[in-house]
Symmetry: C2
């Protein structure tokens, strides 16, 4: 019954879309819009057949983000408040919503438009008035897709005060599927999840390395990992629904998460972080030299004390690429301190440190938007960091990381099986908990090797074999967290649900494998669907762009430094400090902090790389 | 020099005010406004006389909330970004700011207008269109005065990331005066604070009980105390700049602050809180019966186990009035659970508990605005709780409690020396850590005695003697926190600074006492100035209204339940649950939870009380 209704709604929609409007028609419709008040939020009470012995809300009958509320005797009601829809299932759009639906092109068309037409965008990018309008629209429309304040967490399928006041929770864009529902997806699909090992073997394991088709390199892969771990800090000991993080870009990956860690990593001189000189270059201090810092080095593996470092994030013990980024950011902090001290010779250590940290957080956001997301999206629209564009709007300067964002960001297919440095091949496991590749070849050579090495394509059948346990844990956690299916998330983020496995994958063989496992397209798991989607013009498939985009924009632009009271020169030590942020770039970050040349620093391999 | 400049600015303002505008003039001025772009944020560099051997920012030279930044060689600059002013000291208004200054009546005039003219307000209160416009203006304009996200904490005199990311800090509306400044107020006033004991004796100690002139009763006093302690949770062990609280109205005073406390206080049946029956009435459980809960009973005083209760807040051990409110709210929670269970017989304990808690937080906000703040302000404008009025505006649904709000709320003069119950007089110390007055006379009689007893006037020379140590600690803490003077806060909250001690106090003798101690009106301490101000039409003097108002509105309306995604029927179990909030009142709260009659329940003593 519910399925029929969806189909009806779509047909209706298509019918509306077929009507050809002239400008006059649009104006006429718009005038209706203003005459008509907001639709009354009806909350009718519906009866479902008496033989249903389960919660009728398990069928997710409410459309357009209406909230289903179970009532006695297998009844339910849809709360359509704020959805711009009404009717029993919030299926009837108000004039405003209807007009928006008719006029707004679908997300795939928009995405194709932005990733092609480079000539057109070349012009638009150079007309500040129009460009600013578009960027403002991007900030606000993406931000609006993230509930702020947060509404859900993983322990309740309904709104509670915990979602807001208990900040140990990751937020949720959609609440978990109640455990009392007939299937893990509500009423659709198999009663049990497909076997995780079979799933991994058939869908995820790398047959042969598939390189990323947009020339993405390993420097990009490590940027993603280094950047995102500041806010993906799952508290695995307590459960995958919980985080130790503070909810956003807090540069805790550079400075430490707790005040105790931050104090331990400071030199207490001129605002600078502790460093040491190795082979004539500045590096983070050894772990043994920084009491109070704990790093995730495995306890039973003999690692010499001169190979263990004290970094802002305990996880960065894992890989030399993370150590390289950690080193560059520590050098950048200390460089900014020198700049600030030149400008303010009277400032004490504390003020230099605090102000440098404010500048660094600005640099991180600037580089993430203008270099990293720019590459990630493959947009021809030039993305810019202009916090003032959100000022005075309803944009909320507060963020909560969502569990689904964390899962979405498991981009392990980016990791190639080996990294070649100065002619030596290092397998992933060779590099685990080792900084030898950095010190044997020198940091600059290591950085160049990251630049010159291709990352893997973000798709199915491209997970390196050693990452099997990581992938298995992600899928198991998503099941424990009772994530809704990928199609539910498509709807939540204003995309049309996939109608077939073929449409999802664009690959007949893979479609067959998935259909055999899930049976119903509405029962495809979240992470599986995200990765199984046919490739698009961006580094990630399209659903990931349309979900990750809102979370990224919100996380970057809701930072306190973007708010009106922070975003001014005096916050950053004056115009000069403010300009360090405004002119920051990936290239500058490396060029100012490498000893030898910084040629070709970017997120793609140099032209001509095989 | 700075003082002269202020005087100049004021004269200029008056001059502008004298120009008589016709409607055409306003339109003309407005058209200029739109022609003129936003003022360029000039950041000129100024030199102060070379003989100054201190930080020139200690003189607070920047006007209109411009930010002073110290530069080398005793120079400084004012950052005027976002102030709508420009010029060396941000002293020149933009057209918009100038027009606003000219058109907007001063806060005292507005306040007198709202607290008189009852006939006019009686009409306005009944015209929904106009009334809603005014309430929206109140929400937004008050909310705008509170920096959100928060900017300052008490350990730095400049913006840091700590103010936002370290939620252990109370926020600050104004940063602390740097310790390197010549005086505790910057450059004004004495080099040392006046002796605290002398100050208390001369200015604060009660000579004889001054009753509150608006018939305020002890039920109001205890409401203030019970309500505010949910968010004033100073972490005294670590320092007065820190809080254990979560930043706002979280009903942690009813349910407990930590998840562990909340779980301990639950019965685990039908969503209800633990209770016990004493003399045929429902009360909170004994402390001995609730493992895991700690209460602030003094360790070395012999209190029988049957006089110790487990309440949501450890502090509520202190006084029987707090115990009475705690009991009423526990009963109300359990009553709401019964209502919800009637509506949703299939719901489990968890959902009943969580949804009842959401309804209770709504009731708390509704009653606080419509009964408590309504009485406190003595406004003839009817204050209403209508969260939808903030939707779609730039209002930020996030709050941080400010240290200054905590200090402002030290309303101990409200406390009378004795409370008479059924003919027996109880002195304050008789009631400390005792629930005997409740159980000897019965809860209902105790409540009626709170209703029938007058509270004290919120003014100088009206602190009960036993509260000497509390008051002394407040003043000492404000000094440790380096609060700026009361005049700095007047400016921060868009009031004109007091120009003389006489103007502040309206009392020649008190003016003399204060002038002798402080010398300079700009050096009067924050809390001292707030209480020493001449009485006005509200329960508190005017500066307190104009500062407490913004913090209150922000704290109440920035609650997550007020945000668009929460404020809908389904959040509260459907229309019936939503209506419990929408029809909540102080009277209903007591009437539904007292055993005998609830006659005369209100925040004033009954008419005719001596």
């Amino acid at each position: 019954m519910v399925k029929n209704m969806e189909r009806d709604a779509q047909q209706e929609d298509k019918g509306g879309g077929r009507v050809v409007f002239g400008v006059a028609g649009v104006v006429l419709a718009a005038s209706f819009l203003f005459m008509r008040g907001p639709a009354h939020d009806t909350t009718p009470i519906l009866s479902t057949p008496a033989h249903l012995d389960y919660d009728p809300c398990c069928a997710y009958p409410c459309q357009n983000q209406g909230v289903c509320l179970t009532l006695p005797a297998n009844n339910y009601t849809c709360d359509c408040t704020g959805t711009d829809h009404y009717g029993i299932h919030c299926e009837i759009p108000t004039w405003r919503a209807w007009l928006k639906k008719v006029l707004k092109p679908d997300p795939e068309t928009v995405h194709n438009l932005i990733t092609s037409n480079s000539l057109l965008w070349g012009i638009i990018n150079r007309i500040p008035f129009i460009h600013k309008q578009i960027i403002t629209y991007v900030y606000i429309s993406r931000g609006d897709m993230v509930d702020s304040p947060p509404t859900f967490e993983s322990d309740h399928s309904y709104i509670t005060l915990n979602a807001y006041f208990n900040e140990s929770y990751y937020g949720r864009a959609l609440p978990p599927v109640p455990t009392h529902c007939p299937t893990p997806f509500g009423i659709k699909g198999p009663k049990e999840y497909p076997d995780v090992d079979m799933l991994i073997k058939k869908v995820f394991m790398r047959r042969e390395f598939i390189p990323e088709p947009h020339d993405t390199n390993v420097l990009f892969q490590y940027y993603a990992q280094h950047f995102t771990h500041q806010f993906f800090r799952t508290d695995y000991k307590k459960g995958p629904q919980l985080t130790k993080g503070s909810g956003g870009v807090d540069v805790s990956n550079i400075y430490g998460l707790t005040e105790q860690d931050r104090q331990a990593l400071r030199s207490r001189v001129d605002g600078k972080l502790r460093t040491q000189v190795i082979n004539g270059e500045e590096f983070p201090p050894y772990l043994k030299d920084v009491p109070g810092i704990t790093m995730d080095y495995p306890p039973h593996v003999p690692i010499p004390e001169e190979a263990k470092f004290a970094l802002g994030h305990p996880f960065y013990a894992l890989l030399p690429g993370l150590f390289a980024y950690a080193t560059i950011w520590v050098r950048e902090h200390n460089r900014v301190c020198d700049e600030l001290q030149r400008l303010h010779p009277g400032w004490d250590d504390e003020r230099l440190y605090q102000t440098a940290r404010l500048i660094i957080i600005g640099e991180v956001i600037k580089i993430t938007i203008e270099d990293y997301v720019q590459h990630l999206s493959q947009y021809n629209l030039r993305l810019t960091f202009e916090p003032e564009l959100t000022h005075g709007t309803h944009f909320q300067y507060h963020n909560r990381i969502h569990a689904e964002f964390n899962h979405l960001y498991h981009w392990h297919p980016l990791i190639p099986d080996t990294l070649q440095i100065n002619g030596t091949d290092y397998a992933i496991m060779d590099m685990a908990y080792s900084t030898a590749p950095v010190f044997k070849h020198g940091l600059d050579n290591f950085i160049h090797s990251m630049v010159n090495s291709r990352a893997g394509a973000l798709t199915t059948r491209n997970h390196a074999h050693v990452l099997y346990p990581v992938l298995k844990k992600v899928i198991e956690n998503s099941r424990q967290l009772r994530f809704q299916g990928v199609n539910a998330y498509r709807k939540r983020f204003e995309m049309k649900p996939f109608t077939s496995f073929q449409e999802l994958t664009g690959d007949t063989e893979l479609a067959g494998v998935l259909e055999e496992m899930y049976g119903d397209i509405d029962a495809v798991e979240y992470y599986i669907g995200l990765l199984a989607e046919r490739p698009g013009p961006s580094i990630t498939p399209l659903t990931m762009v349309n979900m990750g985009g809102p979370w990224s924009v919100k996380g970057l632009m809701a930072n306190p430094i973007c708010s009106p009271k922070y975003w001014k020169p005096s916050t950053f030590g004056g115009e000069e400090g403010f300009n360090i942020i405004k002119t920051a770039s990936l290239e500058k970050l490396f060029c100012l902090n490498m000893r030898t040349g910084c040629k070709d620093i970017s997120f793609t391999v140099p032209a001509g790389t095989s």
